[in-house]
Symmetry: C2
Subunit: 246 residues, 2 copies
DNA sequence: GCGGCGGAGTTGTCGGACAACTGGTACGCT
DNA sequence: AGCGTACCAGTTGTCCGACAACTCCGCCGC
């Protein structure tokens, strides 16, 4: 439990608190223990615990009331929170089904224009590519394509990825994904996609085009995912209202 | 500038910093001044400035590097950030087009099951309802339905809302929206929706079902929005990877 | 030329102190 | 008895100072 100190103390504290809240140790509306109390239990200073709670507050998990206490925000258990990055495997597993992979192809391919632009390589330059259809309890639910720079992840390493966690492979090479920007587009499956997903032509899919970047802003992974629409519920916490309409 | 202290010092500091970053005072990848330096300039303690930066960090606006500095995260100007709440008007205006409204109907209606459940009223109890089609430069782009409790917003007040900012009306009544949980579903427009949006039957739309809540968790607004898919680009910043796949 | 060392600068954590605010209780007045 | 006020314990908000951990870069010795 203590090896979680990958990043910093307050990050691990926040993560542990988040887990405990999600696990239901405190219910929405409940007041969690005071900052000094939580700090004492974890044997850390109040400053660090307070910083952790500040992160959860900005994340909308808890809300503070001056002079009163810190309360768990009401938010349902999100089946699929789009605001968080995730691996498709864990997503499928979170629904209680078993993830699988079919129709996997990988290798070096010439970079398509959009990919080349995002990764910062010349158009047509070779990039590592991985495409596969993920299944949930055997049913085909999402078609995933990934591209990354060859010097980041060699094409020959792609087939041996453990359970498809390309994120973990990149992290091992010092290219941990910090955040991604996603583009959402609904569409109707065309012939090829319909065949790959084993659904009738015209079936509704949600396409997510995403560029993942490391903390320093370097684009490390470009992906395009086609989700069978009725296989998932896509949820999203929206904070604000933002600065747009004040 | 100082009346911004509605919530707390670190919130106003974070907001000011966010504004300055968005305004381009520091570009993506730039290192912002050190915590002591920023604190000195604003005449606050390092603790408060640090707490503010922690919020921006959790929000993905900046990222810290121990021993090095704090850097502005690379994130493009999002045309339509789903992670932030927004009014449809400001969304349309942000694309450089003029928002308009047609087919507006409002009044008290019996609460549909899902709405009653979210608002915490008996099914069929009267709730205030507002439905309208919003236009961008005259083109119909989104069909919006809103429901809220009658004691929160009276049905007779609905038609006189200034430029559709139902959020502002609720805030005036002490029911400022703190966050919302949205559900995304792609669909093909059926007959009625196609007619309202003036598109062919079967046109792709993205449906967003959303429940907005005040800071104390009280649901204040339920809305259902049908967006014409090819009229908008839906963007989203995803942080993480979360705790799912370690 | 090159590699190791060290120092300046920055973020991370700690401990303590007091202010600001909330909620409840006890008290005193009516 | 009822009611309002004052007080008090508890909690979050802000401040200060100190040191640890880490990064970056230039200097120095080899």
């Amino acid at each position: 439990m203590t090896e979680t100190r990958r990043r910093s103390l307050r990050h691990s504290l926040a993560e542990e608190l988040r887990t405990r809240i999600l696990a239901g140790e405190w219910r929405p509306g409940d007041r969690i223990p005071s900052e000094p109390e939580l700090a004492r239990r974890e044997a850390v200073s109040r400053s660090s615990m307070r910083a952790a709670i500040t992160m959860l507050e900005e994340d909308g998990v808890v809300s503070r009331r001056h002079g009163s206490g810190t309360y768990v925000t009401y938010r349902p258990a999100l089946p699929h929170d789009l605001g968080r990055n995730f691996g498709v495997s864990s997503l499928i597993r979170s629904t209680g089904m078993a993830p699988g992979t079919v129709e996997e192809t990988s290798g070096a391919v010439p970079a398509p224009p959009a990919v080349a632009d995002a990764l910062g390589v010349p158009e047509g330059a070779p990039v590592s590519s991985l495409r596969r259809v993920r299944t949930a309890d055997g049913r085909r639910v999402v078609d995933v394509s990934d591209w990354c720079r060859i010097e980041h992840l060699a094409p020959e390493d792609l087939p041996e990825l453990p359970e498809g966690s390309i994120y973990a492979a990149l992290a091992e090479r010092g290219l941990a994904v910090d955040h991604g920007v996603a583009d959402l587009t609904p569409r109707n499956a065309d012939g090829d996609l319909a065949r790959r997903l084993d659904v009738p032509r015209g079936t509704l899919v949600l396409t997510i085009d995403q560029v993942d970047r490391a903390a320093d802003g370097v684009a490390v992974l470009v992906s395009r995912e086609h989700y069978v629409a009725d296989a998932f519920t896509f949820c999203l916490v929206r904070r604000g209202p933002g600065e747009g309409e004040r």
